[in-house]
């Protein structure tokens, strides 16, 4: 369920950036989702579908990828990608630690363009059908 509120935060930022750049529309968003964020892929994509109609993001596509977790061992200098929910340092065997990657959702990049061009293209393909 938190997918929707996180998605809304992504979209708000995207709209603000596009607006600031004076862009006609948003064609594509690139988003990174940390493995530890508890994001369910289907819910994430559904949130995008649900939150974009009626906004300048209506015809935008979302490219997103999962960023693997990285853990800093609490006992030795080793950093590692955990393979289990129990974080056990492969170098020294210590449990726990701090996540140094995989905990964030990041709006990485926007592809912007002329919204009217994008809409008319969609319209044209509909006419052909």
């Amino acid at each position: 369920m938190h997918e929707l509120s996180l998605m809304q935060a992504v979209l708000e930022k995207a709209l603000a950036v596009a607006d600031e750049a004076g862009a006609g529309g948003i064609i594509r968003l690139e988003v990174e989702v940390g493995e530890l964020c508890g994001i369910v892929p289907e819910a994430w994509e559904m949130a995008f579908e649900a939150a974009t109609p009626g906004t300048p993001l209506e015809n935008a596509a979302m490219d997103w990828r999962v960023v693997d977790a990285r853990v800093q061992c609490p006992a030795c200098p080793h950093e590692y990608s955990p393979s289990d929910i129990i974080w056990e340092c492969p170098a020294c065997g210590a449990f726990g630690g701090e996540a140094i990657a995989g905990n964030d959702i990041v709006l990485v990049r926007l592809e912007v363009g002329d919204l009217n061009a994008s809409v008319s293209k969609t319209g044209a393909s509909r006419d052909e059908n």
Binding site: A9, V17, G96, I105
Partner: protein
């Protein structure tokens, strides 16, 4: 045209959380973010706590629920200052809601603030509310596998409470497995076993709270 953005989505929440944390520390208030599944006994624990605290006037509770003011009414009857946040279906509290809720209290009068999060083991774990301590609670009827299923919360908590211990003889709760998982996920986290029914473990809980309050007073100096 491509525009590089690189914007952390949780940055806004983290900024609100930092502002809440500073505001609370300025007033020497110890805030706890209490997270558990629905029905594990968060409100019952708070009722017991309010009844046992030396000065109820120093306690405040922010109640987070999708709907109704039922829990806030219980807290009010128990004698603490309370404000209700209805998330209208939202599954967790965010720091901006807490920031706004603080306006409803006389912060100079409060020394201990409980933020009872929306009943949910998953989503609240991702949102810092500006609390000083995060407390995770499981009741024995939920099963011993909860820490393994919701590791993010149990990795990040400062205290772990196992509630409804009076029901242990009646349910198949694998206590050694539970303790082992908690220890592996979050080495060194204190684990309190309590029952709001029999009062078991509540003295230890009150002691933990007093120590927490004392540590805030020290930190704010």
């Amino acid at each position: 045209m491509k525009i590089d953005v690189v914007h952390r989505v949780l940055k806004l929440n983290d900024e609100f959380a930092a502002s809440v944390r500073k505001r609370l520390l300025d007033h020497e208030i110890t805030a706890l973010n209490l997270i558990s599944a629905p029905g594990s006994g968060k409100t019952a624990l708070l009722e017991e706590t309010i009844g046992r605290w030396e000065n109820r006037g120093q306690l405040a509770v922010i109640e987070g629920d999708p709907d109704t003011t039922l829990d806030a009414e219980r807290i009010q009857r128990a004698g603490a200052a309370v404000t209700q946040i209805n998330t209208e279906g939202g599954c967790h509290l965010e720091a901006n809601l807490v920031q706004r809720a603080l306006d409803n209290f006389d912060l100079d009068a409060i020394e201990l603030l409980f933020i009872e999060n929306v009943g949910n083991l998953l989503c609240p774990a991702g949102f810092d509310l500006g609390e000083r301590f995060r407390v995770a609670m499981v009741s024995v009827t939920e099963g011993a596998d909860k820490p393994a299923k919701y590791p993010k919360l149990f990795r990040s908590c400062d205290l772990m409470i196992l509630n409804k211990s009076d029901l242990l003889p009646h349910v198949d709760f694998d206590l050694p497995y539970f303790e082992h998982t908690v220890k592996c996920l979050n080495p060194g986290v204190p684990l309190l076993t309590v029952s709001c029914k029999t009062g078991e473990g509540l003295d230890s809980w009150m002691e933990w709270l007093r120590t927490a309050v004392a540590s805030t007073a020290k930190a704010s100096q």
